[in-house]
Symmetry: C2
């Protein structure tokens, strides 16, 4: 028989109605208030015809409304599809269409982009959450779920792959539950905890904080945009005990902090999204900042491997050990487990691991074998079982916490009528970690400039994906079977930027 | 596909090998040491032919060996059947035989009883864990599991029912997991936690502490027997932060405590096993003891409803609200939900709730309908959803935290050749809460005394089940259809003892 679970927000509002659920600079909501808002919004969404298993795309900033949207969608048994607000209208239109969203729920900040999206595609309804009529909390309604199947899909999160279009990662209630529980068994929880969400709520890192908040009954402090000073003040003056950050954010926070210290009650700086420079860790150590380095993917509903601060020195460079119910192994190209300290592909398993990609049967079968997810990332386990990540997925460029796949940019470049070949790699950048740069072979007699290509990319891609430089070449390095050798391209970069 | 989970102790020993797992007055073991002992014992049990799905009955005191036994059995994929050490040899023989145990693993303290059990039945092997040859930790062995199906049975715990023989409650890994997770989401957890196990490890209350210890990575302090002074010292001097107790224990602890206070770091007195007298709660309030009253059953793998200390006064008499993933409802005799403040049967649901009784298809179907367990206990929910338990299962006698079912004692009495009718009820007792007393109608011309019947019961029953008094009657009160009216019997008791 299916495992039915009470709807999380409903249950939380029943158990601890008066606990603080969300605080922003200007507002504070209890779980009961959040629940009332979510139910009201759900009833409104129902008037748009939204019902079980339909998809609702979200294009919103980090706001109370965004959190309410997630919960309202759950109340209808529908599936949330959070969209990266930094994507171009064309990219967004593609995702909304690919997931067959019935509705795009957006906020004032994205009106203009939505207009462009609708120009691209219009097979869905749109609704501005800020201009909805005053919602009325009606009688408890047959539209609203009280329970969910634990294996029902909760979210589809798009992630770029090594080839072509992004894929929608299906995350079930059980996946989010597994993530929240794995985290609490590692980090603990107390009534004093308050988790700051300043990472985007459309990313799994932000979404997972919403989940923990409602599952633990823990207040979430919400910042709309990242501002190092505001984050430091939240920790020092607003009793924030835990924060999720990426390296670029932590760097700025530490700079801004200066001679100040975080209070002792601050207990977790959860640091994800790519490699961490050793000097930064050393500064954190000096300032007694409890950094938990993590490794995770959209496919694992956030962290799956985490390093405790006690190992910051002895295991520098490691992402740590798996969460309690999760497992990690390193395999060779035949899928066989390799010995300690041998590099190979990182393969993971656990209740937080996705069961597949939406409508991508083949990609799912390639990635998930016998419940083990093949991440495409390279790494090794030392003799004690600590994971060291060597390379994120083949040629992945991590830029300020965002993942950029060269193949996606290359395919845009190749769609330009004057471009014959294109290769994209990451170039070192002081601010963002890495930024994409392009190597291009033009067609005979083509007469276009770097600026032309940049403009062309801007139409199709999120700004952070647009190559910052273009190198024109007569031919691109390829192996015998014609495969592009991106590593050879990297060598053409000035040595300081490789 | 089945949900596979890493074996808990193996995973825990991998993740945090050097954390304290168990401490007693004289010993301390890390999780790695506990794991080594458990694997060694598992390999030894394998030489007895123990393998997946076989049952191993445990007759042991609260010792490190008892905890090791549980984990060793898991390592083989076998099922633990903890036996109540207070039962008579006849009762024990029946349970060992009913569960088809392949092995009875006991300790020195129970050698004599085991001799008697073997006289009763001998369809199983016996093994004294204290006289096992020095165990050798071998190479990692194909006998030892690394993963388990989450729906695999972990334990069979016998519980008496309203009729006839006890029934074996099947508890899966998922049930124990659900219980541990429900508890952590309610009580939180920190690296400073240490849980004292002084309740019996053969009860679900003790077993659940073992589970929490390995799942949370939290030290368990183990006391062999209950001694109020020792428990208070453990709290005051040995950094115990949480204790599971029953009312009779708490009463003695508070007495023994005198003018002393528990340190502020002591954060949870988990109080289960029946009704709590208000004066006791008041004393706890005065002494600032954080009492969490709970309601739970073997069938729910320990607590399923818990009252936080903040509601000790406002909700006196309530057992609280359900754990996060659990649900409670009150139904009438047709199974329909009743309104707030209306009494009815307590019906519960959640991941910690058993899927049934071992080899008792009919009893399972009667008790569990559509995933809801009908507890047989009576109670109501107030308008805020707080549970108030009115009566434990029909005529249940709770005596010092042990459940006693009149039907079981009556059936023993009725097996006496001179007894024609028998009825058993609970009589108030200052020390134990209640104790069983019997009303008996003898056959014509029977010439037996109270002492004869007491001796007869002692052969068949655990001491705590033997009626402390026998009342001889000419006839027992019955309703029109001949059903014994135990409530009428209660009225025959002296009014102070009703």
């Amino acid at each position: 028989m299916e495992n039915m679970i009470p709807l999380w927000l409903k249950q939380r509002a029943f158990l601890t109605p008066n606990r603080l659920a969300i605080e922003t600079e200007s507002r504070a909501l209890t779980f009961q208030e959040l629940d009332e808002s979510a139910r009201a919004l759900a009833l409104t969404l129902a008037t748009y015809g939204i019902t079980s298993d339909m998809k609702v795309a979200l294009l919103q900033d980090n706001t109370v409304e965004m959190i309410t949207s997630y919960h309202a969608i759950s109340y209808l048994g529908a599936i949330a599809v959070p969209l990266n607000t930094r994507l171009s209208a064309r990219e967004l239109a593609w995702q909304v269409s690919d997931c067959e969203a019935a509705l795009l729920l957006y906020d004032n900040a994205h009106q203009e982009k939505v207009n462009s999206i609708v120009l691209e595609r219009s097979s869905f309804q749109v609704c501005n959450i800020n201009t909805l009529d005053q919602l009325v909390v009606g009688e408890e309604h047959h539209y609203l779920k009280a329970e969910m199947r634990s294996d029902a899909p909760h979210t589809i999160i798009y992630t770029s792959g090594t080839t072509g279009h992004p894929k929608g990662v299906l995350l079930t209630y059980a996946n989010h539950w597994g993530s929240a529980i794995g985290s609490v068994l590692n980090l603990g929880c107390t009534l004093e905890d308050k988790w700051l969400a300043v990472v985007p709520l459309f990313h799994v890192s932000g979404l997972s904080i919403i989940m923990r908040s409602v599952i633990y009954g823990m207040p979430l402090r919400l910042h709309r945009h990242f501002d190092a000073k505001a984050v430091n003040e939240a920790i020092i003056h607003h009793k924030v005990t835990m924060v999720s950050v990426v390296t670029a954010m932590l760097t700025k926070m530490v700079e801004e902090l200066g001679d100040q210290r975080y209070p002792e009650t601050f207990r977790c700086m959860l640091l994800g999204g790519g490699p961490v420079p050793e000097p930064l860790l050393k500064v954190c150590l000096d300032k007694n900042i409890p950094v938990y380095q993590t490794y995770g993917l959209s496919e694992t509903a956030s962290q799956i491997v985490t390093l405790s601060p006690e190992h910051m020195i002895t295991k520098t460079g490691s992402a740590g050990k798996p969460l309690f119910s999760a497992q990690v192994k390193i395999v060779d190209e035949h899928g066989d487990r390799v010995a300690a300290n041998q590099a190979g592909e990182i393969v993971v398993k656990g209740p937080n691991v996705t069961s597949g990609y939406y409508k991508r049967e083949e990609a799912t079968q390639q990635a998930i074998k016998n419940q083990w997810l093949h991440t495409g990332d390279m790494g090794y386990l030392d003799e004690e079982g600590f994971l060291f990540v060597l390379d994120r997925r083949k040629d992945l460029i991590v830029s300020g916490g965002e993942n950029i796949y060269p193949a996606e940019i290359e395919s845009v470049l190749l769609s330009h009528p004057e471009v014959e070949e294109a290769g994209v790699v990451g170039m070192k950048d002081e601010k963002w970690g890495r930024v994409p740069v392009a190597f291009v072979k033009l067609k005979n007699k083509a007469k276009i400039t770097e600026t032309d290509l940049q403009m062309f990319c801007r139409d199709a891609l999120a700004k952070y994906k647009v190559p910052t430089r273009f190198y024109f070449m007569d031919s691109l390095p390829r192996n015998a079977s014609g495969k592009l050798l991106r590593r050879e391209l990297v060598k053409r970069l000035p040595s300081d930027f490789q």
